[in-house]
């Protein structure tokens, strides 16, 4: 399967990439690792007229200590997140989740910024960064702005990014001392989650986010509220699907997804409380 024809330009910097995307308009797309976009283009579900390749903007591939958070360049690959000692100690939920994205070949190419900007609710990293309360940094022609993960996802494959903005950095609050868990239920090792759960708990606070339980990643606030009010894990997990609005597909009915969410949230809370 070959994508529809497009023009290809390569950017050497974020500024150049933003200038190019502005020049070519709404039918142009950024290409990072390509592991979300190229499969869609091969199926002709996406037919951008221009690809602006940002894969060589090397100064956007980094993992740095930002004090109260870890700053991750948008072009950092999943494999580098998985193997990062800094993330392993200060945000282990993210490093662990990254190790469950696709398979090793995918993780050698795919980037965190690409995955988040693609805004697929079935992807692992959007929900995990949502649970972690991450802040995304977007750069446009007029400078940068910060977008809370909770404000970023607006619908299926739709984010708060303007057409001429690109993600440049992801800031993940440090979670030292927290208990955490990532649960991914699928039928084949490399598949997307049929349902997934990212959760962490610290000092009586709990955050839980759901993968593939709606048109966006879903923050399960009823679970957190129930736990804060003294509910047991079993009773809190029963609220897992309260904010969700899942779709049925070949893998699962709506009822099955709601059931899975409750089971997986219970497992996640148990592990995160251990």
């Amino acid at each position: 399967m070959i994508p529809a024809a497009f023009n290809y330009v390569r950017a050497g910097s974020a500024e150049e990439a933003i200038s190019l995307i502005g020049e070519y308009g709404e039918d142009a797309k950024f290409l990072a690792g390509g592991h979300s976009l190229l499969p869609l283009m091969k199926l002709r579900l996406a037919q951008p007229t221009v690809l602006v390749d940002i894969g060589r903007v090397n100064d956007l591939s980094y993992i740095r200590d930002g004090g109260d958070h870890v700053a991750i360049g948008a072009l950092t690959r999943h494999m580098d997140i998985e193997n990062s000692e800094l993330l392993g100690s200060d945000a282990p939920l993210l490093a662990h989740t990254a190790s469950h994205v696709g398979d090793p070949q995918v993780r050698h190419r795919g980037t965190i910024g690409g995955s988040l900007a693609h805004a697929d609710p079935a992807s692992d990293l959007p929900a995990t960064t949502l649970a972690l309360g991450a802040t995304y940094v977007a750069q446009g022609p007029n400078g940068t702005r910060e977008i809370a993960a909770g404000d970023f996802y607006q619908g299926y494959l739709t984010s708060a990014l303007e057409a001429d903005e690109m993600l440049t950095e992801i800031r993940v609050p440090k979670m030292n001392g927290a208990g955490w868990s990532f649960q991914k239920f699928n039928r084949r090792a490399q598949d997307w989650a049929i349902v997934g759960v990212a959760a962490w708990r610290r000092n009586g606070d709990t955050a839980v986010a759901l993968v593939n339980m709606g048109s966006t990643p879903v923050l399960a606030t009823s679970v957190s509220t129930a736990l804060a009010g003294g509910a047991s894990i079993d009773d809190a997990a029963a609220q897992a699907a309260a904010e969700a609005d899942p779709q049925a597909d070949l893998n699962a009915s709506i009822e099955y997804r709601n059931h899975l969410a409750k089971v997986l949230v219970k497992r996640a809370l148990t592990e995160a409380s251990g």
Partner: protein, 154 residues
């Protein structure tokens, strides 16, 4: 667009359409057909090659993205005198293939795995090869082959 790609140590320079996939480039432009196209949807891993030493699915990368990069295919891992790579030899000795269609991708994924983890457990191998599908062997002998190659490399 003119690109220059080093494949198995030989640099190839020429024009490609931007939509040319790396696997197409390797098979049809460079003429190395050892790399197979299986699912064509980045699931099966039959098209796995190394880009700068790391396993990548060449059906999900554009040739223009490989411009200036160093590609290794299944044809490039044996010695010049024909001596097989230890991983290839291990697949032969452990009957790690039946029809052989997945084998080039399996071998390239497995050599990349051992670059990252030279002493894997059986479970490490199974997880490390999660991106490669085989519809003949049930994986048992493939896993044994990779473990044998890892042992030989010690």
């Amino acid at each position: 667009m003119e690109i220059s790609v080093t494949v198995n140590g030989v640099t190839h320079t020429g024009d490609v359409e931007p939509r040319t996939l790396l696997v197409q480039y390797v098979r049809e432009h460079v003429g190395l057909t050892g790399t197979n196209i299986g699912c064509d949807t980045s699931s099966c891993g039959a098209c796995t090659v190394h880009v700068n030493g790391e396993a990548v699915k060449s059906c999900t990368m554009l040739a223009v993205q490989a411009d200036g990069q160093d590609i290794t295919t299944i044809e490039g891992i044996a010695d010049a005198d024909g001596t097989l790579h230890p991983m290839q030899q291990a697949f032969i000795e452990n009957h790690g293939l039946q029809c052989g269609y997945c084998t080039p991708g399996m071998v390239m994924a497995a050599t990349s795995l051992l670059e990252e983890n030279s002493n894997p457990t059986e479970n490490d191998v199974r997880i490390g090869l999660e991106g490669n599908l085989c519809r003949c062997t049930g994986y048992h002998n493939i896993v044994q082959s990779v473990l044998a190659a890892a042992g030989g490399a010690k």
